[in-house]
Symmetry: C2
Subunit: 569 residues, 2 copies
């Protein structure tokens, strides 16, 4: 594409820049053939997830209803061409945009050119180019795509263009992936919803009064609608996992410095206090695993030296006897989760307790309020000056949750170097203490075996009402500790009337904290009806660098609980 010409640098107003970006987005969608179906009257119910089934062809539904692992097999076997697959996903992604406002642009030319190339390769060589041959992958906008705009959600940055694909995109493409869609994110990237002045608000396909989460919220919504089965997100406080949770899909935040981040764009470049991670969202656990393994198998540390030179370690080596010790944390001691979430944890724990292989013990959260105080300070060690400058450079208005995290956050402070060091030491002390507590769990096991994983909520509730996602603690906790975590669908949703009794807070409940009161008030105000159809998701967490072990534990626990490892199409 040609670089954007309507930019702040060229003298345009922020409103004009935004309008131009939206025109550009729509133009890319209009390139898709056959044209993306228009929505008719009645095509925008509260829950839009069934709409594609009405508007796409049978074959498109079969293709987009297939998860990564099976898609790869069918393409490699010649059952579907890469071109047919790319086109089906372009069409469904275009439709997803109309339903949830999740797209910044489609890349039909790039995708179809690449797909044709892959089809020729397969025809000529009789084998796929790599493990992701023909797999369409959607990409959060701030992860650079060669020749495309790279605004990271800032109006002021429109006009910046990537000279090459982000490193992760290069590795995925080399393995056969087809890059075809770019997705929305929030102003500053530091919101766990997805709204910018450029593209407006991305909504949750299961209930449009709710947020799909953020900052990788475009991915969440797009994958919920199966406009993608595999996408790239990024996460410094929950930005992969919150959208995955709100949208009922799988999301994996790896340990930092395992997957390559080079070529992404964000404010505060060069900060080392808390490292963001890049990782997959997918309709299947296996999609997320294959994504991760495919990149690590290419030794990305040889090109991005900040990465740890750690191969993907065969996950089947873990739990050879399938025995797993799970710590369960219902509540982080700061904010009590909404009743549907607590109920989902209980139900899963009950199922796991029925397995002879799973030992479930209680995990007591250690000062998660302190953890938030530490990480909230470390996010913005310049007092938020860089983020603020990027917003203000265009005159675009501050959006409520960006204001909340940057302007109304009591922990934001412009630090001197000595204060930065103290804050880093506080982080390290906290990490050490948490490690000690984890080590001590060996003492409560007859075999001296410490916990393998922690099972906990992914958020204090299901997808929140727009502009109410203020509590990051259930995900940011694991960023502070740099523990890998997977968010997974508990295969349950809010709203069946018979559950109302199970959805009550305890009688005379007194909130634990200000954030708890805020979350509690949301439930009091909206109740189950307000969150109707919202998927319920949970989170599984492992120790730092135990990424492969986490995948294996997730797989076994789902099997033991009798839950599928993929979202039903």
């Amino acid at each position: 594409m040609a670089p954007a010409t309507v930019t702040i640098a060229s003298g345009a107003k922020w409103q004009d820049v935004a309008a131009d970006r939206q025109r550009h987005r729509d133009a890319t969608i209009a390139e898709v053939r056959p044209p993306v179906p228009e929505l008719g009257p009645g095509d925008t119910p509260l829950n839009t997830t069934e709409i594609p089934k009405k508007l796409l062809t049978e074959e498109e539904l079969r293709i987009t209803g297939t998860d990564v692992e099976d898609l790869a097999k069918k393409i490699a076997a010649g059952e579907w061409s890469s071109t047919a697959v790319a086109n089906a996903f372009l069409r469904r992604a275009g439709l997803a945009q109309k339903l949830s406002n999740c797209i910044t642009e489609l890349l039909p030319k790039r995708a179809l050119d690449r797909a044709a190339e892959l089809d020729r390769y397969l025809a000529t060589n009789g084998k796929p180019v790599g493990p992701l041959h023909g797999i369409p992958i959607s990409v959060k906008e701030h992860v650079g795509i060669k020749g495309e705009d790279l605004n990271a959600g800032f109006v002021a940055w429109v006009g910046r263009v990537s000279e090459e694909d982000a490193l992760i995109v290069q590795y995925l493409s080399d393995a056969g992936a087809v890059i075809y869609a770019r997705t929305t994110q929030p102003q500053t990237l530091m919101q766990i919803e997805s709204v910018t002045n450029l593209y407006g608000t991305t909504v949750n396909p299961y209930n449009t009064t709710l947020t799909p989460g953020g900052s990788s919220g475009g991915e969440g919504a797009l994958i919920a609608l199966r406009g993608s089965v595999l996408g790239i997100g990024t996460d410094i406080g929950g930005s992969i996992r919150v959208p995955a949770a709100n949208s009922g899909v799988f999301g994996f935040k790896p340990t930092s410095n395992r997957l390559p981040t080079s070529g992404w764009s964000a404010a505060m470049a060069g900060t080392e206090s808390i490292l963001a991670a890049i990782g997959p969202l997918s309709t299947s656990l296996e999609g997320a695993r294959l994504f991760t393994k495919t990149i690590l198998d290419q030794q990305p540390w040889l090109r991005q030296p900040s990465l740890v030179a750690m191969d993907w370690r065969d996950e089947t080596q873990y739990f050879p006897d399938r025995k797993i010790r799970v710590g369960v944390m219902y509540d982080d001691g700061v904010v009590r989760p909404h009743p549907p979430v607590l109920r989902a944890v209980s139900k899963l724990v009950e199922k796991l307790k029925g397995s002879p292989n799973v030992e479930v013990v209680e995990w007591k959260p250690y000062k998660h309020d302190l953890a938030w105080a530490i990480i909230a300070k470390l996010y913005f060690v310049d007092g938020g000056a860089d983020d603020k400058a990027q917003v203000e450079a265009s005159g675009e208005p501050w959006l409520p949750l960006a204001k909340f995290i940057l302007h109304e956050n009591p922990f934001v402070e412009s630090l001197t170097i000595p204060k930065l060091w103290s804050a880093a030491l506080a982080r390290d002390d906290y990490r050490t203490r948490y490690a000690e507590l984890w080590n001590e769990t060996a003492g409560t096991s007859p075999g001296g075996r410490p916990l393998d994983v922690i099972l906990c909520p992914a958020a204090p509730g299901v997808a929140p009402k727009h502009e109410t996602s203020r509590y990051w603690g259930y995900t940011s906790q694991w960023n502070l500790l740099d523990y890998p975590s997977i968010v997974f669908p508990a295969h349950d949703a809010v709203g069946a009337p018979e559950r109302e009794a199970a959805y009550a807070y305890p009688d005379g409940y007194q909130p634990l904290s200000d954030p708890d009161k805020y979350v509690y008030d949301q439930w009091r105000e909206h109740g189950a009806e307000g969150y109707r159809d919202a998927p319920i998701s949970l989170q599984l967490v492992a120790r730092r660098y135990d990424d492969e072990k986490l995948f294996r534990a997730m797989q076994i626990l789902l099997e033991e609980a009798g839950l599928p490892a993929a979202v039903p199409a």
Copy 2:
């Protein structure tokens, strides 16, 4: 030991604090039985390395003449008791203090109590407690020892006491090591010599007019005199490798965040811009390898979460056909090494070229002057304020090389957070560029094989005259890149008259840079005679995290060159 009571905090003058520390040191040496031999007239020649042979018993010489790997075998086999071994090393270390001023204190009670316990264990169980059963290990002072002073070379810090052993000491002790001696370091730890106002100057056992290097210079001198065969050093710019090189022993700086640093003490705690590493100095390559493996086998990342959870990877998996591709860098393009060093590189390269297994190619240094500018800034991002405050808190005088690196260093600047981020990005860009260049070496190989290791000088000369160690570039380069490196003896020394012709600079030599002129002038002033008997050492470097591969490459290259992998006793 009781904590120091003569301290700045108690109102003492710095001179009194220093005198008290020296009394304490001497008192610990005086506890050794039989008493450490006194030096007689004629026992302080320029080269003191033969003196112990005159003053210790035959058995003590046999014990202290044995390298780690054989010592472990003999103790495990009951040939020598841990007690006999500990006592021999206590005696030889006490003597080393008299010859080189390398000790801050001996720990005879701790060592002999532990040795007795180990002897009982072996007698009772018929097997050693761990792979280091009975191995005496010396420890640089700023690595904490329970109940002992922890001053890190600052007079103002005398009186600080460790509540427990540093984590690395715990792991080594659990594996059977006997901690018996603590060693000197320089003021601020940021000198590559070893002189403080507390203990004075540590001198090189091979030539007392020269420095053993620093900051782990006490270890270098002690091991050169075989008052230790294995010691703990630390390295942020060469502090393990410079002393190893100057003292003619093996020194290994691992990739950062592999070995545990928790429980050490230094100024600027909490900085993340350049990470220091902790590692071994030893009389043998195998001693250094066993040290590293023994710690990693205990999974130190479970207790220090900043460490990478990377097991020791069996080094014999590398180079199954013994074929190694070596890049050789004679000169870093900034400072030309003194003639004996260049000659040693040439000689080794000639030997390696004689091997069918070794391919030697040229490695062109990439802007090592820029590398120094980057790292010298990142060392002191607070403008050196913390180091300066610790020196000034006691009124102790500034020592020349501390002043050089902190006060006269043009790159030292007090950074704001945005400037800190820029400096970190400059570092990352440099690392990326170096990685690209390394990757590109695959293009010059018929098999597309990139370099395995780089062979280069360890320093611009052999051990320098006291107070002249101003050029860190040959070692700090690999700290900036965080590449593991081993310094090894080239089994050669300065001074045989027949070499004088080989020791000339090219006719009409014009220095490349100010640091080069300084180094060149040292040679012009002192010549070969001035550096008589100084050991010549070289350095082998691998890519980040290739620590195990580096050990294997080192072993094979020494074998191919026909050089021993240990210092002759």
